[in-house]
């Protein structure tokens, strides 16, 4: 059986600066994978690669055995989604409108159905207080949570979270992670989360870190 996501011999470089060399990674169905990153070592680039917003210089990315080149935008939307470490929302819309936008664009759901989906996720994660706010009214932690809300409302098979724990208090972090893991298990999703020093990783099935332009277990 094919993996949910597979990266084969990926090379990424910006000008003379190599980020990954011959990187291989496989993500299974219902797997939670944590990737420990340092400063500017390619954590965000790796997630963008998985989300097909960054194209590798060489190598292939397969989703359920199908090459990224053979997938259209709507299929991508149903397969993979990403939370941005900073910003990540459109400033012309409120958080709720930001959440509604991709669902309205990529599906044929009625407005009320889309709204109910968003409200149900917001309720589960206690994020309803963010819904009517504009991005400029949010701090960095709230922005990441609003990103998470949009991502979970869209319900893709692969969830990519970029340093979502950053800046959170211990109480908030444990609450969000507990709800997140429960949500992922209940909805049969897979997760790749980048973490940094001080972040929690004990909820994961597998832990990797970026070392020498590649991924290794730790």
């Amino acid at each position: 059986m094919s993996h949910l996501l597979k990266l084969n011999n990926i090379n990424i470089q910006f000008a003379e600066n190599h980020v990954f060399k011959n990187l291989n990674l496989a993500l299974d169905y219902n797997e939670i994978l944590v990737i420990k990153t340092g400063v500017l070592d390619g954590g965000s680039s790796l997630l963008k690669l998985c989300n097909h917003t960054l194209i590798a210089n060489s190598g292939t990315v397969l989703y359920e055995g199908i090459s990224s080149e053979n997938l259209n935008n709507s299929t991508f939307f149903q397969t993979v989604g990403m939370q941005f470490e900073s910003e990540g929302l459109l400033s012309m819309y409120t958080v709720k409108e930001n959440c509604k936008l991709p669902l309205t664009f990529h599906t044929q759901f009625k407005d009320s159905t889309i709204e109910n989906k968003i409200l149900s996720v917001a309720k589960e994660f206690n994020l309803h207080y963010l819904l009517d706010k504009y991005p400029y009214q949010l701090n960095d932690v709230q922005l990441r949570l609003a990103n998470l809300l949009r991502l979970l409302s869209s319900n893709p098979k692969i969830i990519l979270l970029d340093e979502i724990q950053s800046g959170m208090s211990d109480k908030l972090r444990s609450g969000v992670l507990m709800k997140l893991v429960r949500y992922i298990k209940n909805n049969n999703l897979s997760l790749i989360m980048t973490i940094t020093a001080g972040d929690v990783d004990d909820f994961s099935d597998r832990r990797l870190e970026i070392k020498n332009l590649n991924l290794v277990s730790y």
Binding site: K48, N51, T53, N73, S74, F76, F77, G81, M82, F84, E87, G88, L89, L90, S91, M92, L101, P102, T104, F105, H106, T107, Q108, F109, D111, R150, S154
Partner: protein, 265 residues
């Protein structure tokens, strides 16, 4: 030699910009097919209405003031030359169509569109670019052409057309008010309006509409093009606005004069 090099660079940049604008035009037309999807059309419609409101309706205030001033100027100047001539209204109607409806109206409305709205759109687009929001669209698999370009692509020509129409109407009314104050024989507004309308041929309507649609379309494309060219550097947005305004003014005058020369020779 250096001068020749610079001249060559300017000409090349101009051609590059024109090719890019035609590329954006083609992309917009292709992307318009997606508007047949009900949900996508809803997203587009909300943005289109917002753009039309900001571009067309909110410009009413400045459009009214300038149209009143031009109408007053036009009537005062004509009256100072023709005085209490028995065929004053006929002469004025011919002059009004020749000067205001054919040339000044489209040009002034276009300049208002550029100054009020196109610059704002370039700045908005530049802000989105500098804050990586085009990357966000890429991440949620929505084309920036659909979300950011299409509303402008359709709203700008329509706004300019409405602005032409409104400008001409206010100009006619303000001219009539001045004439009413200056002349001893009173002429009804209805008669004044009909005399001017009689001078407007179908050809004139088509040419004026073409000026609005073509100039509005390319002004819209240009502000998106320069807004999207913003770099993550200080003053890049203001530089883009400046270059964009220059290009839009050149496009506006070229389209207006070219169409006038071709149609009214």
């Amino acid at each position: 030699m250096a001068l020749l090099g610079k001249l060559g660079h300017v000409v090349l940049s101009l051609f590059n910009m024109l090719f890019d604008l035609f590329g954006l035009l083609t992309k917009s037309l292709i992307m318009s097919v997606s508007l047949f999807s009900k949900n996508k059309f809803t997203i587009f419609w909300n943005l289109f209405i917002r753009q039309l409101y900001n571009t067309g309706l909110k410009a009413t205030y400045i459009n009214t003031i300038i149209a009143i001033l031009i109408g007053v100027l036009m009537m005062s100047l004509t009256y100072s030359i023709l005085g209490e001539n028995t065929r004053f209204i006929d002469y004025y109607a011919k002059l009004f169509v020749l000067v205001i409806i054919r040339e000044i109206g489209p040009l002034i409305s276009g300049i208002i569109l550029i100054a009020r709205s196109a610059n704002a759109v370039t700045a908005e687009m530049g802000y989105l670019k500098q804050h990586n929001q085009l990357e966000v669209l890429n991440a949620i698999k929505i084309s920036p052409v659909f979300l950011l370009l299409l509303p402008v692509f359709y709203a700008f020509p329509l706004s300019l057309l409405l602005m032409f129409f409104y400008f001409d109407l206010v100009c006619i009314f303000s001219s009539w008010v001045i004439m009413y104050l200056l002349q001893t024989d009173t002429v009804s507004l209805n008669y004044f309006l009909l005399t001017i309308l009689e001078q407007i041929s179908f050809n004139e309507v088509i040419i004026s509409a073409s000026k609005a649609l073509i100039a509005g379309l390319f002004i819209g494309l240009t502000c998106i093009y320069y807004g999207a060219s913003v770099k993550p550097k200080f003053a890049s947005i203001s530089r883009s606005i400046s270059t964009s305004t220059t290009s839009q003014l050149i496009i506006l005058f070229t389209v207006n004069i070219l169409l006038s020369v071709v149609a009214y020779r």
